[in-house]
Amino acid sequence: MNHEEALKSRWPERYALEELSADEREEFEAHFFDCRRCAEDVRAAFVFRDNAKAVLREDSPPKPDPPGWLDRLIEALRQALRRPAYALSFAAMFLLCGGSLLQYQALKTAPMMVATHVLAPQARGEYRIIEPTGDRVALGPLDIPEEVTPPFSWEMRPAGGTGALMAGTAAAPPKGSSLALSVARSKLAQGRYHLILRGGSQEVTYRFEIKLIP
């Protein structure tokens, strides 16, 4: 099995839906342990499945207890008598007990606004001041020196820190386009950061400082 065959036959989805036979499951498991793209698809499918189950469980109203024997007896008597007064009582009881309607919380999302901030390699000690105003901050366009060539890898860390807050990779940009890093504003606390871009065994550091507007 190769990746294209797996995608075409939707094996990641069939695996997550438990549709594969034992032999197929064994074959696909050997494949996705090797194929990183299928591994990510499989992992994402199970992450979605388990989290969706948790969300739906949380958002569903509790099921009412089934009526006991006395309630069933009373209901049977009402049906047998078929008097209008009892018919109304039955309707009221149905409304109280009936139907498990799924209710979802409405999510309100603020409109997305992105402000761009050109970043050039700074000399040590210089930090580009950025005062984010929208939900997301575009760090860039990045002024990339010629010797730093794609494909790129990048990481962002607090100034003076050693651990990366976030990291990623990027391929060569389309002609006429620049590279920018889009970050959720909530991810950037006030303070100084280094954005390190690596490519072609060279690297460049962009220094910026987040100043939050009170």
């Binding site: 989290n51 969706a52 761009t116 990779t169 386009s177």
Partner: protein, 196 residues
């Protein structure tokens, strides 16, 4: 999830105890093994035992230069995991007669399902369910995943083919991946080269 290429260099670093390679090895295969083993075990304890045994065995073989095809290292780990499952079953295979009228053992699958659940991810899954899927698609997902109804029955009820369920899951997963990529901070290309 970081993606490494499985090469002779990767195996060499693992043998030498390189911290980054070791960290990637355990992180990358931990979730894959959880996913693989959940169809075979109901208790998280069993899965954890097999995972740990697999990690130990793989490192033992790596140390002994026993990995013949480094480019197929993933499939090799999968194979070792299968062997560890058999050993675990052999070791714990003796069963005791359960007394009559004893209470049904608790379903431990919930513990396994919790491994991949987090508040942050639930937030994005809720967004996908609420804002990006139709009501019918939400009902299908509820029927399949929460209520665990028979899939053929659900397809008959909603008048959709089985392929529709696979495409629905594919679309929902892609949307979640997009949301999570946005949350992590994604690189993007913007038109032009504007300077302020």
């Amino acid at each position: 999830m970081e993606f490494y290429s499985f090469t002779a260099e990767y195996v060499r670093k693992l043998k030498e105890g390189d911290a980054e390679a070791s960290r990637h090895f355990t992180t990358y295969f931990s979730d894959l093994m959880l996913i693989k083993l959940r169809s075979q075990f109901r208790a998280l304890d069993d899965i954890n035992e097999v995972r740990q045994a697999t990690f130990a065995k793989v490192i033992e073989i790596v140390q002994a230069d026993g990995v013949c095809q480094p480019e197929r290292f993933g499939a090799f780990v999968c194979g070792v995991c299968d062997n560890m499952v058999k050993e675990h079953r052999r070791r714990t295979g003796r069963t005791e007669q359960m007394p009559e009228n004893c209470p049904e053992p608790p379903d431990r699958r919930v513990d396994i399902e919790r491994e991949l659940v987090s508040d942050a991810t639930k937030k994005w899954v809720r967004k996908v369910l609420m804002e990006l899927l139709s009501r019918r698609d939400r009902e299908l997902i509820t029927a399949i995943f929460l209520e665990e109804k028979d899939k053929d029955e659900v397809c008959r009820q909603y008048g959709v083919p089985r392929e529709y369920l696979r495409v629905l899951l594919h679309r929902a997963v892609r949307r979640l991946q997009k949301q999570l990529a946005g949350e992590r901070g994604e690189t993007k290309w913007i038109a032009g080269s504007q300077r302020v």
